[in-house]
């Protein structure tokens, strides 16, 4: 009833190719952006912005990058943490070694370095598929862990191997308060989400999806596998690299390679799977699920008025989390994004189904 496209006629190609062809969707996304940009910074506590929304945004960005590779191009990668690490350390080196380097430039250059490494480790994808490729990307993970732990140059000869950045600012505006950090990440995420959405709707996105669905058929109809797969690796690791740089610079402030360990790679892969493979929206759902659920499970006993020991709470969290993942994979293997679109389908008829 509220969500019907009756009467919305497209009279030009432009109108037909919009990202959100339905007026209600456009309105919803506008409201969402308005809330995210205006209402949240004004009305949400610092703790929420600093400790929940900022990491949620950065991890959504990383999941978005990974989704391009896994969900759109069908190449399973376990090296996401590695590409995040490359982005973070490269951005750090640009920041400390070049005086007066603008923050945004070093973040983007960090992303570019991640692109190079991503393409390098993407080359095996031309020969190996599926699980075997996953293992090859695992090599990227262990290689970067090793490199950033052992090669002193990358950490600017820091004796402990931990690096830190401070005094971030963009065009003279400091990125210090929770609201500033949140907005800074939000701008990055919005721009990248828009770019990614348009990329996957374009010719290159269709090539990726063709490769994912059947690579032989795609090659037969004239899609170059080398180009398609390497561009997917490049775009994906660029976004992931920028997310890594943001994670280090904005969220942690000081980090060591353990911040980008194999656990991070798995976490992001779970986000993509739970959120929905091959869906931009799904990346956000997945990140929200994985970031918020543990916090919710952690706080729930407190609100319900009984207390349990810290260790038990932590164990329960892991157990419930695992059970939910299994549940989702059985009940809705296409992830939360699919649930979302099912809900939208239903809403078109509601409340008068046949």
């Amino acid at each position: 009833m509220f969500y019907r496209e009756n009467g919305q006629f497209k009279s030009s190609y432009r109108a037909d190719q919009q990202i959100f062809p339905i007026a209600q969707d456009r309105l919803a996304i506008l409201v969402l952006l308005l809330v995210a940009f205006v209402v949240v910074p004004l009305g949400v506590s610092d703790y929420w912005m600093r400790a929940i929304l900022t990491p949620f945004l950065i991890l959504s960005l990383a999941a978005l990058g990974l989704n391009i590779l896994v969900g759109y191009c069908g190449q399973i990668s376990l090296g996401t943490g590695a590409f995040m690490a490359v982005g973070a350390y490269a951005a750090y080196n640009f920041q400390v070694r070049i005086d007066g380097m603008p923050l945004i430039a070093s973040l983007l250059l960090g992303g570019l370095c991640a692109t190079v490494i991503g393409v390098l480790f993407g080359i095996p994808s031309l020969r190996i598929k599926g699980l075997y490729l996953a293992v090859a990307t695992l090599a990227a993970q262990f290689f970067t862990d090793w490199a950033f732990l052992r090669i002193q140059w990358f950490t600017n000869n820091s004796s402990s191997g931990s690096v830190s950045v401070a005094g971030l600012n963009v065009f003279g505006v400091p990125i210090e308060s929770p609201a500033q950090k949140y907005l800074f990440c939000l701008i990055f995420v919005s721009v990248f989400a828009l770019l990614a959405k348009n990329l996957v709707r374009s010719a290159i996105g269709r090539e990726w999806m063709a490769m994912r669905d059947m690579d032989v058929a795609a090659a037969v109809i004239g899609i170059r596998p080398v180009y398609a797969e390497l561009t997917a690796f490049a775009v994906s690791s660029f976004i992931v690299g920028v997310a890594g740089a943001l994670w280090g610079f904005v969220h942690l402030g000081a980090w060591e390679p353990a911040a980008f360990s194999i656990d991070r790679s798995f976490q992001l892969l779970f986000m993509v799977i739970i959120g929905g493979l091959g869906s931009i929206m799904g990346s956000f759902f997945g990140a929200a699920f994985i970031v918020l659920l543990p916090l919710l499970l952690n706080q729930l006993p407190g609100w319900l008025g009984f207390s349990i020991s810290t260790a038990l709470a932590s164990h329960l969290e892991t157990m419930i989390f695992g059970a939910l993942i299994v549940f989702f994979l059985i009940v809705e293997p296409h992830g939360l994004a699919r649930l979302w679109s099912t809900a939208k389908e239903k809403l078109r008829l509601w409340p008068f189904p046949h």
Partner: protein
């Protein structure tokens, strides 16, 4: 039907979110001093993190049972970090806004690094007893960090002094080979600059053998030990890494008597699994263990016998438990010290507690009165020196318990001081900070 449940879920989520947002809006005036407890009771470091956390909590319960800090009761909340930096940051953000928050003890070097940049803006001090950033001893640059009683540099220095003494003089170290088997993280890497400096001065050869965190797989590291045959092995491990290292040492036949652990590799969980095979293994000791000290007796009587103990009763008085008690005692004493200046019986702010930390003066008499006689040496901090004391001993595992304390050692000022100053200046340069003025010390 499906839609109905969906709507129900949405309503539930909305209501819980509302509940989440509500408490932050209604921040009441603090009546209690709040101690946030960052702990890890799960994961590969839990065997060591748990007694530490229990000690901290039991001491708070003891203080509350005996009337609080000059009448101010202590409230606390634990937050599980799992030794992970990002979770630690989340816990810090969650708890820092509580009314009456005193200070943080991150219990992990990685979390300390991340928080060091955040605490000056939030005006909350950090206590990192025996861990954290070695350079933060310099209070002129690190206004909010307090690595009380020792850092990894003082630890490494004391170990080398001890080895020199057992060999019959520092000059005997010349030409010897010492291997550092370390947890490959900021925690394990911190002592390296000092050991390199010592190697230069005393003429021993230092070889670095990293172990990938968390340290459950050490075959290749111990293969290197076997090949190099070092005269001594320094073990810089934490959590499961320590017991694994000792097992590997047994397997490779490296004599345990030649192994020296840092004070984080010298507690019961580290050697219990290896038992008699670890006999002869030495480690640094910041404190004694056992139930003889008065404060431990008090905890047993006032907390555990009333059924309010945090952990198992037989772990009370273990090495890390006692260290947790010491950490909590020092923080409580800092609040007390701050109250002397800013008003007895009041809840102190983070800034006031910082002053208390910086002006700690715990002499032997005060320690005796608190029941800590024999457990540790006096601590007194100042504006420039945030460490307060570097005294430590070496104890040895006899197959069933830790004992056989050595004499007290103090880190060599002549080596440590210039290194701390250089490192602190480098940090200040990177962060574009200036050293604190003398006038700032009064505030």
């Amino acid at each position: 039907m499906k839609l109905k449940s969906l709507a129900l879920t949405a309503a539930l989520v909305a209501s819980t979110l509302g509940a989440l947002l509500a408490p932050s809006l209604a921040q009441a005036q603090a009546k209690e001093q709040f101690f946030p407890l960052l702990v890890y009771r799960t994961g590969p470091y839990a065997p060591n993190g748990t007694p530490w956390a229990n000690g901290k909590q039991d001491y708070i319960k003891l203080v509350n049972a005996t009337g609080g800090i000059n009448g101010v009761k202590i409230s606390y909340e634990e937050c599980e970090t799992g030794y992970a930096t990002d979770k630690g940051v989340e816990c810090y953000e969650r708890l820092k806004g509580r009314p009456g928050v005193a200070l943080f003890d991150p219990q992990a070097t990685g979390i300390t690094f991340a928080l060091t940049d955040k605490v000056p803006t939030d005006k909350i001090p950090l206590i990192t007893l025996g861990y954290g950033l070695a350079a933060s001893q310099d209070g002129g640059v690190f206004k909010w960090n307090f690595p009380l009683m020792g850092s990894y540099w003082t630890a490494a220095d004391i170990l080398i002094q001890h080895i020199g003494k057992t060999e019959g003089g520092m000059d005997k170290l010349k030409g010897k080979k010492i291997a550092l088997v370390y947890h490959d993280s900021p925690f394990g890497k911190e002592p390296i600059p000092l050991l390199q400096e010592r190697a230069k001065q005393n003429g021993f050869e230092l070889s670095l053998i990293p172990v990938t965190a968390p340290g459950v797989e050490q075959k290749s590291a111990w293969l290197q030990v076997r090949q190099q045959r070092p005269d001594f092995v320094l073990l810089w491990g934490w959590g499961v890494m320590n017991s694994t290292a000792l097992k590997e040492a047994v397997a490779t036949g490296y004599p345990r008597e030649k192994m020296y652990g840092v004070w984080w590799a010298g507690a019961e969980p580290d050697v219990k699994d290896v038992g008699a095979n670890a006999k002869g293994y030495h480690a640094l000791a910041l404190n004694t263990s056992g139930t003889q000290p008065k404060v431990i007796q008090d905890i047993l009587k006032q907390v555990h016998e009333k059924g309010q103990g945090t952990g198992p009763k037989d772990e009370v008085g273990s090495v890390l438990y006692t260290r947790g008690v010491i950490i909590q005692m020092l923080t409580v004493e800092a609040v007390k010290r701050a109250q002397e200046r800013f008003g007895k019986g009041k809840v102190m702010t983070g800034e006031q507690v910082r002053w208390g930390m910086e002006n700690l003066a715990l002499d032997q008499k005060k320690l005796d009165a608190l029941g800590f006689s024999g457990v540790m040496r006096p601590v007194s901090t100042s504006c420039q020196d945030h460490m307060g004391s570097t005294w430590a001993r070496v104890h040895t595992w006899d197959g069933a318990k830790w004992g056989d304390m050595s004499d007290w050692y103090q880190a060599d000022e002549q080596i440590i001081k210039p290194m701390v100053k250089t490192a602190a200046d480098k940090y200040a340069g990177e962060k574009k900070l200036t050293r604190r003025e003398a006038a700032d010390c009064q505030s």
